[in-house]
Structure formats: C-alpha cells, structure tokens
Symmetry: C2
Subunit: 456 residues, 2 copies
C-alpha cells in the first residue's frame, strides 16, 4: 500500500483544492440554498475522478442525490462491490456572526481548514476520492467495484430517501457499505459506530389572532405564545421523562454486547463539560450512566422557538402566532411516523388540538450487530492505520438514513471517516485538520484493498 499512501500524501494540496471547491458551493438542504449548482458540481467532481456519474431525482421533487459507479480493474461482473454512503448537503450557517470566516469561503489556518461542510460531510467525500484517485493513478483502476452515493437531503432528515430506495434501491446495493462518519475521538483513538438514532422532526405552531395586536389587548385576547409554551410543557417533565402516551413502547433493550461496548467506551464527560461550558449533565448523570443516556435514550429537543418581537429594545405586541421546531431522537425500534401520530394524539388529548404539527423529518433508527465480519474488517484496518484498536459504539446519538441501506437493502454497514470532536460540525467555524483528512483517506484506501481481496 506504500504507493497508495504516498500518492495520497503527495497530492494532498490537490485534494484540499478539490475539497475547497465543494465547500465554496453552498448546499443547505433545509433552505434549498445552492441547489441550482451543487448537484452539477458534485456530478462533475465524481466524473473528474473517474466515476460514471448521474444526478438522481428523488421522489416529491426533493433535492437530488448524486450517484457514481466505478468498475473494478478486472472482471467487474464477478468482483465484489463496495458502497460509500456520503451526503453533499450541509447544515444552515446561522448564527453567522459567530463565524470567524465566511462559511462558504474556505480558509486554511495552519493545519486546520474552515468552512461549512468541511468536515460534515464534504470532508469525507474528499478523503474517499483521494483514496480512489490514488488507485486510479498508481494502479490504473480500483481493485473492486465502487459505488458512491451522495445524498442531497441528509441534513434535513432524508425525507425522500426511503421512497428512492423503494424505487431503485437495487442500483445502490452492494456487498458492504462504509457509512459517513467515524474517525478519531477526543483521546485520538479511532472510533467506529454501528448504528444511528432515528429522528422525528416537527414544526409546532399555533395561531390565536388574525394579526398581531397591541399588547394592551393582552388583558382580554388569547396569547399564542403562552398557549404554545403550555402545550410544549406537557411533552417532557423536568426529569427528562417524555409524557407522550406510548412513546417508549417499541424500544428494544440493547444487547448485552452493546451495553458492554458502551461501558467500555472512554469517559468523554470532562471534555464535554469543557466543550459546552457546563458544570453538570441532565439528572446529574456521569460515567457509564451518562454514556448509556446519550446512546440508548430517545430525546425531545426544542431546536427553535419563534414568536413576536426579538430585536433590541421593546415592542409591545401581542403576537398572533407562535411556533417551535422540535426533534425527537429515536432508538430501535421506535418509528417516526408512529411517534408523530402519538404526539398528535397527546396534544389532542391535552386540549391542544389547535396546535398544528408539521412533519419535517422522519428517519428510522438502526443498529448493526457488533460481530459482523464486515465490522471486523473495518476494525482491523482501522487498527493498522491509527495504531490503536478502535473504540466501538453500538449507535451514535445522531441520525442518518442507515436503516434504508442496512435494513431495506440488507447490506452490512460500518464506518470510517475523518471525524474529530474539535471539528464543530453543525456549528459556527466548522473545520477539519489536514491530519484527519489524510488518516481518513488512507483508511478508506486500505478498506478498499482488503475488501477486494477478502470478499473477492
């Protein structure tokens, strides 16, 4: 593999330039921003690296995926096929005033590269392409069939992915799949995760007046803000217990292996305390209990509140409308549409039929078996690249559409990537280090090589 690793290192400036090209193009799926050009650029970059690429329409006029195929050097019909799942969409950039640089003007400061999507997930796309490019340049071709699936709606909940998989999932089927994410943790140990939480994302809103009123009328007119606040307040108590009837019914207890893996994880609590500037966690949790809460428990999060006047000073207004965004992280085998129905029923039964609930995002949770051979291959190659055994997480606290590939298409999934907790994904000043990029590219290359020989 020396030729491949050497190529990755000597071509790092070109790889960074290509990553910057991707980051410079906005692609905020929540706001549909930049999608006049982003899919075309993604297709062009796949083609430039040797893929046969296409822009894939998704159901409901959703934001398209971009798909690329590259055949194995020899006998592609018999060669095994590896799928890389990535996404080229990014999170919104607000609050913009907390960025030190323009989020869409990629900026290098020392070893660190700043910009929206630099880590999540354009950094992964770039690292994987660097690995693939090394095979093409050094050996003329890749040793196995490679499929790159780059989703355009991951950051807004992959709402149309289940429909796309139902329509033409066979095109994306492979013998094994590398997911986005993976990389190094705070101790610089390599980590892998084998599952993801699901999510139900909703917009709650209530209108009490036909238009905003002068706040002197607050003495006699109903208030949308008070009403929304009282409705939300019924959903969760101060001990983090969610009071939607049946919310916990379908949760499957994690396996003994999964629990043991979580118990064996390093204690990141001190770093979290520092990163987030807090002195304690919910319910005073720490140690294994804290990790189990993070990994195995569902959530009811308020992601946004919006009503009336929010600028400086005072506007004495009684707002006509109040709204909130909430996301519920779900664990196996909760289902987002079922939780949506239960939330609606909960609000109705508590007298809040006037609170409208818009379904914005729905993703099923998924968890892979720890003892799959594919997981073992990815773990072993990680140890070779990083020099340490990887830390295994049964599932991440975050969400992605792993279910559609792992469950619906039935392929084994493991992770490898360029992540590090210092990358500030989803936040201002998102970044990646050149070191993380190179490690991720080399791990991708070694996985391709080992997969081609072991699965052949």
């Amino acid at each position: 593999m020396k030729d491949i690793y050497s190529h990755i290192e000597t071509h790092v400036d070109e790889s960074i330039a290509q990553l910057f090209e991707m980051v410079r193009q906005p692609s905020i799926s929540a706001q549909k921003r930049g999608f006049d050009k982003a899919p075309g650029l993604m297709k062009q970059i796949l083609e430039r690296n040797g893929f046969k690429a296409e822009i894939v329409p998704v159901p409901n006029d959703g934001l398209p995926s971009v798909y690329g195929f590259m055949p194995a050097a020899q006998n592609p019909d018999a060669a095994p096929t590896l799928l890389f799942y990535c996404h080229y969409d990014v999170q919104p950039v607000d609050p913009l005033d907390l960025w030190d640089t323009d989020p869409f003007e990629p900026t290098r400061v020392g070893d660190r590269l700043y910009g929206r999507g630099m880590s999540d997930d354009k950094g992964n796309i770039g690292a994987r392409l660097a690995a693939i490019r090394a095979f093409v340049d050094e050996r003329g071709a890749v040793p196995c069939n490679i499929k790159m699936f780059c989703e355009g709606e991951e950051e807004s909940g992959s709402v149309n992915l289940p429909g796309l998989i139902a329509e033409r999932g066979d095109d994306f089927r492979a013998d094994a799949c590398i997911w986005e994410g993976g990389g190094r943790n705070l101790n610089n140990d390599p980590f892998m995760y084998l599952g993801l939480k699901g999510v139900l994302g909703v917009g709650l809103s209530v209108r009490m007046l036909s238009g905003d009123a002068h706040s002197s009328y607050a003495a006699i007119l109903p208030s949308a803000a008070w009403r929304l606040l009282r409705a939300i307040e019924t959903i969760k108590d101060e001990d983090e217990r969610i009071h939607i009837d049946g919310f916990y019914d379908d949760i499957v207890e994690p396996s003994a292996e999964a629990v043991a893996a979580v118990e064996a994880l390093p204690d990141d609590a001190p770093e979290w305390l520092e990163t987030f500037g807090v002195t304690s966690f919910v319910k005073g949790l720490d140690g294994e209990d804290l990790r189990k809460q993070l990994i195995f428990q569902p959530t009811a999060n308020i992601a946004g509140l919006d009503s009336g006047y929010q600028d400086e000073g005072m506007k004495t207004v009684l707002p006509a409308v109040a709204s909130a965004k909430m996301d519920f992280r779900l664990v196996p085998e909760q289902r987002p549409h079922d939780i949506y129905d239960k939330l609606r029923a909960h609000l109705d039964s508590h007298g809040f039929s006037d609170v409208e609930v818009e379904l914005i995002a729905a993703v099923n949770p998924y968890r892979t078996d720890l003892d799959s051979p594919w997981v073992q291959l990815v773990a072993e190659t990680a140890e070779e690249i990083y020099g340490r055994k990887p830390v295994m997480t049964p599932n991440m606290a975050g969400t992605g559409p792993m279910f559609d590939f792992g469950n619906t298409l039935g392929m084994p999934i493991a992770t490898s990537g360029i992540d590090h907790p210092s990358h500030r994904i989803h936040a201002p000043n998102e970044n990646i280090t050149v070191e993380d990029f190179l490690l991720g590219a080399k791990h991708a290359a070694l996985i391709i090589d080992r997969f081609a020989s072991d699965w052949g």
Copy 2:
C-alpha cells in the same frame, strides 16, 4: 372660529405634505433607527410653524426630546399656558412582508394615508400644528402660551423621561395638558381617556451552554429553551392569574365613578372579535366584565420568544441560549421597579436564578379624576366638534408617561386627538383618514381658544 376651521380645511394639502415629511423620516426608538436626522427634522418643523424650538438631551444618552414654545399674542407673562404632549418616535415595522406599502414612503389611497407613525403619533403632531398654524396665519398669533413636548422614546417605554422631568421639568410645566390620543371609537363617538396603565418591559434570557450544540447531545446536556419555558410558565396560570408574590398588593380599587364610566362604555366586543379574528375572550368574558378586565386589570404578556433555528425546514440544534420579551401592564398604584424586584425574587425562589432579567421599560400608571374642570372643558369642546357627547374612559389599556406630567408636575391632563380603531397603530399598514385628521385639528383649535378665554 369659522376663520380657523376654514384655514384648517383649505390648507389640508399642505398639512398632509408636512405629515408625510415627518413619516418619511424613520424614527424607531426601539432600534435607534433614524435618530441621526429625526430630532433635527422635528425641530425644523416646529420652527417652520412659528415655535422657538430646541433638541432636548435626555439622561443616559437617551434619544432626545424636541421642545417648542410659542408665546401668547398678548401679555404672555400673564397668559395661561397649554402643553401638548406628543412623541415623534414610532414602533418597529416588522413583519415587513405584511405591509402593502413601504412604511416610510407615505402613500395616499383615497381618504386614507398609510405609513409608520401616520396615526401614532406623527398624525397628532401634524393635526395640532395645523390648528396652531391657523391661529398664526389668520390672527397673527395664538391666544395662549403653547408648549409642544415631543418625546423621542415613548414607544420604547420612556425610560429616561422621569430623569428629564426631575432635571428640568419646570420648563415643561403648564396650566393644563392635552395628551396624545383621543379621537373617535368604533361607533364614531368621540372618546377621551383620563389615564394610562404603566408598564414593566423586561428581557428574559438564559444561557445553558457556551455555544449551540448538535441536537443529539440533547440526551445529556441541559436545554436553555426548555428552561426558559419552564421559568415563564410559573409566572401566570391558565386563568390569567399572575403568580408573582405581591404582584397585586398595591392595586387601588378604581373609584365608583370610574367603574360607572366603564360600565357606560359601548360594547366593542363584536368589533374586537372581528378585528382580531377570535371567537371568544380570555376566561370567556363579555360585556362589562370584559371591559373591566381590559381597563382595570394588569397583564403578563409574552411579546417575543427567541431560540435556536426558526427558518424553513429543520436544523437539528440544541440552542445554547433562549430569550423572551415580556411586558407587564400595570394599574394604579403598582410601580414597575417594584414589580421588577418581585419578578426577580419570584424566579429566584422558584429555582430560576440563572434566568437573567433585563429591565427595558418602566412607566408608572396614572389615572385623572373624572370631575376635573379641565376634563369638562375638553369634553364640552369635543361635543361641539363631533356633535356627540364624548365617551369617557378612566384609563386606557395602553401605556404612556402621563404620570410624569400629571403627578410629578401636577398639571391636569385630558386627551384629544385623531385616533380611530381602524388606524392599525403598532401594526402593519398603519394609517389615518383625512377626516380624522381634520376633526382632530379643529378640536385642538377649539381647545386652544376656549382655554385662552376660560383660564385667562
């Protein structure tokens, strides 16, 4: 008075042009917008109409007032002095997309004139200047001394007015005062109000994290949005009872005359239902009880809620900060600084010491005696102009710094103005009709004439 009324009518186009000149100049005190030019323009307009005018600095580097003096035609040292209280600042204009015209590009559509401040309160300034100009042009001078006090911070709570009155209140003292407001109600009956509620305006905010986190961490990190919501929820119950300890202690029961006046007011409930698009009022109130609630009861209003992501789609964020704007309308003899202290103590005693409370606005409530001779003069002249006896309201549900003039400077206060409920003050598409403008100008003129003779 025929010469005066005729002058007001024949010069209405000039008066409207002058009003448009004022409206075209933004002067949003809450956002300090337009105050590089607005005070100078206000001074220039007073001077143009014959006043000796000055820009009056206020304490704490607040937005200045503009003050004008015009002496009586004969023997000004012995002549009585009339003060017109007005304000040249306006409310913010958001939500801008609900305006049919640019709020700062005055637009006439038939008999109706649109723009921010067109009614509240630049319309009153314009109508009063039209009356004064008529005396100057037709008779060479006004028959009494006239003071015009134009405040620059009324719409953001007159925070610096008590300080200014303490510093140089004597300059603004007069024998009687006409307040802003007054005009016609929904039945087109003239109305007067003799008092105003006070207000405590506060910003509540709580920070739980040093920065926004990915919402997957909602399983273990404390949430600012949930915490703010739970703090606010303790302030008022669903029966509109405010649970701040001692909140109701200093409320003085209204006099029998005040109660009788409210009972005699017309029933505006059907119009309110239509205007605000509601089917009922708080606690199912109607009739006299509804009016008593509006006029005599204090409020706890949520004027704004702000946290996290509020745009389209989903951003899976755990917001670091959540904030709210609240205004508490106060009735005699509640005091805003006392209520502020009680709110702070309430939050502390309920375990919410981490919720910060910023005092934004503090105005004392004030209520004039119904049987004052000055009130009688203004009521009689209103009947002459409008052809009907005015409806008397002991106090408005709204707020203004009447206390500082009526109580601190000890002058009798009544109202006369250009108001009508269709003017949409504080809301998009604020407007005034030419008819309301002319009636207000004529009433101001007759008050000046009668005051000069009766108080002379």
